[in-house]
Symmetry: C2
């Protein structure tokens, strides 16, 4: 966030204050304190990584409003659907995605610790924040973490015009020794709806390969795109690999929802629909020492990460990043200098504090 933008459009808070506030609001609408704390941790992790679209910007509209109107269950009946020593399927009972996803990923990690590897899926859930959060839970256990989720439908398949699939992200976290972990966390669309909305606010045209209008033709107008469809990673058609992004998005729907026995395909709500319990997640963990000596692996990971970062830059470029590095550096900076919260979100939170009678003590 540039300095002048912080001065005008952002307010600064701290990680602790933001977590405390988010947790208190969730508890105030009936979420158990432990679950509320987990959800707050996930939401604020997104803000700390600079992924504002998945942070506390989601708190008022996505979580609190839906918990209050009963679209989401505040105290869900989470059930184990199937379990083996290397696998787990949970039904989230239409609760918040974050607590059940954390529970599932932790169970997968515990199983992988005993068995070498394990997988889990969750159905009947809701938005769970950033997929990278769950993949990263594996890091301190010296495992490779994998996480995915389907999401409200927002994108068309390659050659299609119907909105069939969400931004359906995949996340992979791999530990290193001295270098920050490799954390790849990406939507399988070229861009997110948040990017379209930002362009609409800024009155800047879209880039080619981002979105379709309602007729299935490419549009550079954000307003048209927001009622149309996102385009898969790789762009329109197959020339630049759009079928690869489409395939990865559909793979997420399969691995999360079809594998968990959840809501898949066109039964997944459209962006803007508020139906609850229709989102599914997928988690995996692979213990590194099941395949290689841990210290040797981590030392080689450092070498691998440094080789890419130290390689020659394209003309006019100052730095090459590895996956997760930009987000890692933002976390360090925001912990040091304060966490920026967009003024519009800040005002939403202040309104929420009044509604729920929770003190608004976010200022840094």
């Amino acid at each position: 966030v540039p300095d002048h933008a912080v001065a005008t459009a952002y307010r600064l808070t701290t990680e602790a204050k933001l977590k405390r506030f988010a947790g208190a609001t969730l508890a105030a609408v009936g979420v158990e304190v432990a679950d509320a704390a987990i959800a707050a941790d996930v939401l604020v992790a997104a803000d700390l990584r600079g992924i504002e679209s998945h942070g506390v910007a989601r708190l008022a509209r996505d979580s609190i409003a839906r918990l209050r109107d009963g679209t989401l269950a505040a105290t869900p009946d989470v059930r184990t659907v199937r379990e083996t020593p290397t696998s787990l399927v949970l039904d989230a009972g239409n609760g918040l995605g974050h607590p059940v996803a954390t529970r599932a990923m932790k169970a997968v990690i515990a199983k992988a610790d005993l068995m070498g590897t394990a997988f889990g899926a969750v159905r009947g859930s809701n938005h769970f924040g950033i997929a990278g959060y769950y993949a990263m839970l594996a890091l301190e256990h010296d495992m490779i973490g994998i996480a995915s989720t389907n999401a409200v439908r927002s994108a068309a398949p390659t050659f299609g015009r119907d909105v069939m699939v969400g931004t359906n992200p995949w996340a992979y976290a791999v530990p290193a020794m001295h270098e920050p972990a490799f954390v790849l966390d990406f939507a399988t669309t070229a861009v997110s709806r948040g990017t379209l909305e930002a362009r609409e606010r800024a009155r800047v045209p879209l880039e080619p390969g981002w979105a379709l209008d309602t007729n299935g033709a490419q549009t550079l107008r954000a307003t048209e795109a927001l009622t149309g469809a996102l385009v898969p990673l790789g762009g329109l058609g197959m020339d630049n690999g759009g079928h690869k992004g489409y395939g990865l998005g559909m793979l997420a729907d399969i691995m999360c929802a079809v594998l968990a026995g959840g809501t898949f395909g066109t039964d997944v709500p459209l962006a803007g629909e508020t139906r609850g319990g229709a989102i599914s997640h997928f988690f995996g963990a692979i213990k590194i020492d099941a395949l290689r000596d841990l210290a040797a692996f981590k030392a080689d990971m450092d070498a691998e990460l440094r080789a890419f970062k130290d390689s020659a830059k394209a003309p006019g470029v100052e730095r090459i990043y590895v996956a997760g590095e930009i987000e890692y550096e933002k976390t360090l900076a925001y912990r040091r200098d304060g966490v920026p919260v967009h003024l519009s979100v800040w005002n939403e939170l202040e309104k929420l504090s009044a509604e729920l009678a929770i003190p608004f003590e976010l200022a840094r």
Copy 2:
């Protein structure tokens, strides 16, 4: 392949004849018959799926020439480096990639059958053909198959100009009931070097977002691109998600080579270098009934695949495909009508038959 092209630039053969010929040539240069048959099966599977760049076009130059000059070991000493009930690491001893990859994937499937899921990696290997072949081995076992490999370096990272990473594909195969399986098998670059070579032969400019010249600037000239670098899936920079393709390519290098203790990063040979034993692979299998009732899963997979195929088409488009469908239909057509082999490859094979004193009986 259009009819007129078949008539001029292609000759037709059959699956059985092509496999027999490829296997005989490999056996003639010292590969054990069982291994030669596996390599032939993998190569011809690529031709059957319409992926000519990975089929028998590779036989003379990539396999036979390198086996004859000793760059590759004809009878490699394949060693088990590490093994647990859910994991396996093999050292390929610088043999052909196809037999050791098949052995590793079959072992992973056997472990997953007992344990629910398993993973394996192979180091010290060479080109293994199409990743999808190994992922698809899981299908008849009612498992989800995963395969990846690193590859000779051909692409620059996002914001970079050094050639740091290969086309490093990922493949996922998921069984359905009546529908053909979902088989996603994709290079993590926007296009392959083969696509650049085809454009060079046809004297057609490249598309934006495909390749860089040696200075790290985008080029639309195939000749410049072939001495430059490929661009990751998602294109140049981060605007259209190029960092996602870059991340997926680097992830393959990590999951294959770093995890197996193989050759990674800048130690991987450049495209055109012939150093052997420097390629690594990664395999995984997830047993479906560890997570969900198999029949219910397969029925839902049919519904999922049909929903995408039946969705509304973009203007001027006749069909929407799901991953692997184009390749599946080519296989059916080529089994019925004959397998097309490009005239240049046909001539290479005929030359090979003379050199190795193997009857050239490919004509359909």
